[in-house]
C-alpha cells in the first residue's frame, strides 16, 4: 500500500497556506510524517488565495487532490474551503503544529494578520488553555503593515532597520489608529525611521506580552505566524518576557502543518 497523504489548509486574513504531508514509518512520536509540499499565497479569506494555494501545493509535488486521504481546513476562512473534509479552529492546529516542530513547547505565541493568540500546550501537545486579542488590530501583522506604509518602508525591511536603531523612541499607544498618528508626529519631529520602527516593535511586544502573561508564560516558548519572521518583534518580545523564544522557518505554515497532522488523527479515528 502506498503511503497516505493529507493536506492541511490554513486560510488566514492576509495569506493562504497549504501543507501536504506523507506518512513515513513512525518513530514513536507524531513525527513520522514528511512534508512533501508547501505553498503560500499572500491573499487570504474571500480572495483567490485559497484555490491558488491548493493548486500550487499540488503542482509542486506528484500528487493530485484525489490522492489526499483527508483534507482539513483551518484559519479565519476555514468554513469556505470546499475541498475540505473537516475544519478545525486554528488554535488547535497551531498547538499541534508547534508541538510537532518543538516537542518541548509549553507556550505558543502566534501573531497573524489580524489577531494574536497565546496558547498553553499540555501533555502530548494538547491545547490546554489560550487567550486571543479582542477586536483590535493592535499588536497584529496588520498593525505592522499600517506602520510600514506610514514610514514608507517595506515590511520585510523592518527587522533590519530596527536593528540599526541608536535612540530609544517610545510609541506609547497600541491602538493602530492612534499609533499611526503618533508615528506621523515622531516623523514630523525628524526622528529617525530606524528608531521609530524599533519603538513600534517594542509597542507590539508590550501588547503581546500582556496577553501572554494572562495565560502564564512557561518554557519552551515558540513564536508562530507571519510576524515571527520579523526578528525585531521577536527580540523585543524576548526582552519584554525575559525569555528565549524559538521560531522556525516554517513559522507561517504552523497552522497548515497542524491541520495536516490532525487530518491523520481524523483518518485514524475514522479507521478505528
Amino acid at each position: 500500500m502506498s503511503a497516505r497523504t493529507t493536506m492541511g489548509i490554513d486560510i488566514g486574513s492576509t495569506a493562504s497556506k497549504c501543507i501536504i504531508l506523507r506518512e513515513t514509518p513512525n518513530d514513536g512520536r507524531e513525527n513520522g510524517r514528511e512534508i512533501v509540499s508547501k505553498a503560500l499565497i499572500p491573499f487570504g479569506a474571500g480572495t483567490s488565495g485559497p484555490v491558488r494555494v491548493i493548486d500550487q501545493a499540488l503542482a509542486d509535488c506528484d500528487y493530485r487532490k484525489e490522492d489526499m486521504a483527508y483534507i482539513l481546513a483551518t484559519g479565519y476562512g476555514r468554513n469556505s474551503v470546499e475541498a475540505a473534509n473537516f475544519e478545525m479552529s486554528e488554535l488547535s492546529c497551531h498547538a499541534c503544529g508547534a508541538y510537532f516542530l518543538f516537542p518541548g513547547v509549553r507556550t505558543v505565541i502566534d501573531i497573524g494578520g489580524q489577531d494574536v493568540k497565546v496558547l498553553r500546550i499540555g501533555k502530548g501537545g494538547a491545547l490546554d488553555t489560550f487567550v486571543m486579542n479582542e477586536k483590535c488590530a493592535a499588536g497584529t501583522g496588520r498593525f505592522l503593515e499600517v506602520m510600514a506604509r506610514v514610514l514608507e518602508v517595506k515590511l520585510e525591511d523592518m527587522a533590519r532597520l530596527s536593528a540599526q536603531s541608536t535612540e530609544r523612541v517610545n510609541i506609547s499607544s497600541t491602538c493602530t489608529v492612534f499609533a499611526e498618528s503618533e508615528v506621523i508626529s515622531q516623523l514630523a519631529r525628524n526622528k529617525n525611521k530606524r528608531d521609530i520602527i524599533n519603538g513600534i516593535h517594542r509597542s507590539v511586544a508590550g501588547r503581546v506580552a500582556g496577553l501572554a502573561r494572562r495565560v502564564g508564560v512557561e518554557k519552551d516558548v515558540v513564536m508562530t505566524g507571519g510576524v515571527a519572521q520579523n526578528s525585531g518583534v521577536l527580540l523585543a518580545l524576548e526582552n519584554e518576557l525575559q525569555t528565549d523564544i524559538e521560531t522556525s522557518p516554517l513559522s507561517q505554515y504552523v497552522g497548515a502543518l497542524g491541520a495536516a497532522l490532525l487530518a491523520f488523527r481524523k483518518l485514524g479515528s475514522l479507521e478505528a
Partner: protein, 381 residues
C-alpha cells in the same frame, strides 16, 4: 385539547422571545398598561399588583445611532440600546419605565434617559449596597415604596397588600418553574438547544408571568417524562450579563456544547431567590433584595464569594468548563474577571472569555475561540 410537543412549545417560546413588539402590542390591545423594566432587580411584583404588565428592556441587538449623542463610544451597549429604543419610538407604547441605578453605567443612563425622553413617566430606583442590615432593608423598602406610589399614579389605582401578596405568589411560582427548567434543560440537551434554552428564559421578560409559568409547566412536565439523556458532547456553564445572542448560542450548538447551568444576570441570577414569606409584602420584597448575592453588582464584604459560587455551580451541575460572555465595557464584570478566572484555574475548571456586545455582527473570532474551547474540553474528557 391536544398536548403540544416539546418542539412546538420551544418554538412558541422562541417566537415570543424574538418578537417583543408583537407581545407588547398584544397586551396594549387587550387594554393593559405595560411598564418597561430595565436591569437589574426591579420588583416586578409591584407592577403586576397594579394590574399592569412588566416588560423587560435589556437593550436589543441592533445599531446605535441616536443614543451616541448621550454616551461615549466605550459605554455598555445594554444601556445605549435601551436609550436607542426609546429615542426611536420603540418604547412609546409603555406607560412608564422603572430604571435601577445599581452600577456606574446605569446611573448616568437614568439621567440621560429622563432628559432625552421626558414624555415617558420615569421611575428611578436606587438599591442600597449595604442591603442586609436593618437600615438597608428599610432603605430598600422606602425606595420600593416610592416606586409603588408612582406606579399607582400611572395605573390610577392603589396597590393593595392582597394584590401584592398574590403577585408575589405568581412570581415565586414563575421563579421555581424557571429554576426547574434550567435543571431539566441541562439534563436533556438533545431536546433543548442553547438557543431554545435562552428563548424560554428570555420570553419571561415579555410575558405575563402566570401565562409564562403555565406554558413552562407544560414544557417541564414533558421534559421530565423524557428518558435519561446520553449526551456525548461537552457540558458548560454560561456566565455573564446576557446570553441571548442567537449567533453565539448557535456556535455552542455547532460544537456540541450543552448549557447545563448558568450564572447569567438575565437568566439564573434573576430568579434564584424567591420573595420570603412575611406579613407585610413590602418588607418581603425588601428582604428578597437583602438576600441577593453572588453578583458582581452587589457589594460582597468577603470579596471572593462569587467566584467560589461559580466554581461550586459548575461542579454541582457537572459542567466541564465555563464560557464567560463578557459584555464589552461592563466595568463590574471586567474588573471581577481576574478573580473569577483565578478561582476557576485553581479548581482546574477550563474557562474562556468571549467579548461581545449588542452591536456585534462578525462572530468569526468568537467561533474560533469556542471551537478551540470545545477541543480543550473534549481532550480533557
Amino acid at each position: 385539547m391536544t398536548m403540544s410537543t416539546i418542539g412546538e412549545l420551544l418554538n412558541q417560546f422562541d417566537m415570543i422571545a424574538s418578537n417583543p413588539k408583537a407581545q407588547l402590542e398584544k397586551y396594549i390591545a387587550g387594554g393593559k398598561q405595560a411598564i418597561g423594566c430595565f436591569p437589574y432587580y426591579v420588583p416586578e411584583e409591584l407592577v403586576r399588583a397594579a394590574d399592569m404588565v412588566p416588560f423587560g428592556v435589556w437593550g436589543a441587538e441592533g445599531t446605535i445611532n441616536s443614543a451616541k449623542k448621550y454616551f461615549a463610544p466605550f459605554y455598555c451597549t445594554i444601556a445605549q440600546m435601551g436609550l436607542e429604543l426609546a429615542l426611536n419610538g420603540k418604547l412609546d407604547k409603555l406607560s412608564g419605565v422603572i430604571m435601577p441605578s445599581i452600577c456606574d453605567t446605569l446611573r448616568p443612563l437614568t439621567q440621560n434617559f429622563r432628559s432625552a425622553i421626558p414624555q415617558l413617566p420615569f421611575i428611578f430606583l436606587a438599591h442600597p449596597q449595604n442591603r442586609r442590615a436593618p437600615y438597608g432593608v428599610e432603605y430598600t423598602k422606602s425606595q420600593y415604596g416610592s416606586v409603588k406610589q408612582k406606579l399607582e399614579a400611572i395605573a390610577g389605582k392603589a396597590i393593595t397588600d392582597s394584590a401584592l401578596k398574590d403577585a408575589i405568589r405568581v412570581y415565586n411560582e414563575s421563579r421555581a418553574a424557571r429554576r426547574k427548567f434550567v435543571k431539566l434543560a441541562g439534563q436533556h440537551p438533545e431536546s433543548v438547544s442553547p438557543i431554545h434554552r435562552s428563548a424560554v428564559l428570555k420570553s419571561a421578560y415579555f410575558m405575563d408571568k402566570a401565562e409564562h409559568t403555565a406554558l413552562l409547566t407544560e414544557l417541564n412536565s414533558q421534559l421530565e417524562a423524557l428518558p435519561k439523556s446520553d449526551w456525548k458532547g461537552s457540558k458548560i456553564l454560561l456566565s455573564g450579563i446576557l446570553a441571548d445572542s442567537k449567533n453565539l448560542l448557535q456556535i455552542l450548538a455547532d460544537h456540541n456544547m450543552a448549557v447545563v447551568a448558568d450564572d447569567v444576570a438575565q437568566q439564573s441570577r434573576a430568579f434564584r431567590l424567591d420573595v420570603p414569606e412575611a406579613d407585610d409584602p413590602m418588607t418581603a420584597l425588601a428582604l428578597q433584595f437583602a438576600g441577593q448575592d453572588y453578583d458582581v453588582l452587589l457589594y460582597d464584604p468577603e470579596l471572593n464569594k462569587r467566584p467560589e459560587h461559580v466554581v461550586n455551580l459548575t461542579r454541582e451541575n457537572g459542567a466541564q468548563g465555563v464560557v464567560i460572555l463578557m459584555m464589552q465595557f461592563c466595568d463590574p464584570e471586567e474588573m471581577e474577571y481576574p478573580s473569577l478566572k483565578q478561582a476557576l484555574d485553581k479548581a482546574d475548571i477550563p474557562s474562556v472569555s468571549i467579548g461581545f456586545d449588542q452591536q456585534m455582527r462578525d462572530f468569526g473570532q468568537a467561533r474560533t475561540q469556542l471551537q478551540a474551547f470545545a477541543d480543550v474540553l473534549s481532550s480533557k474528557r
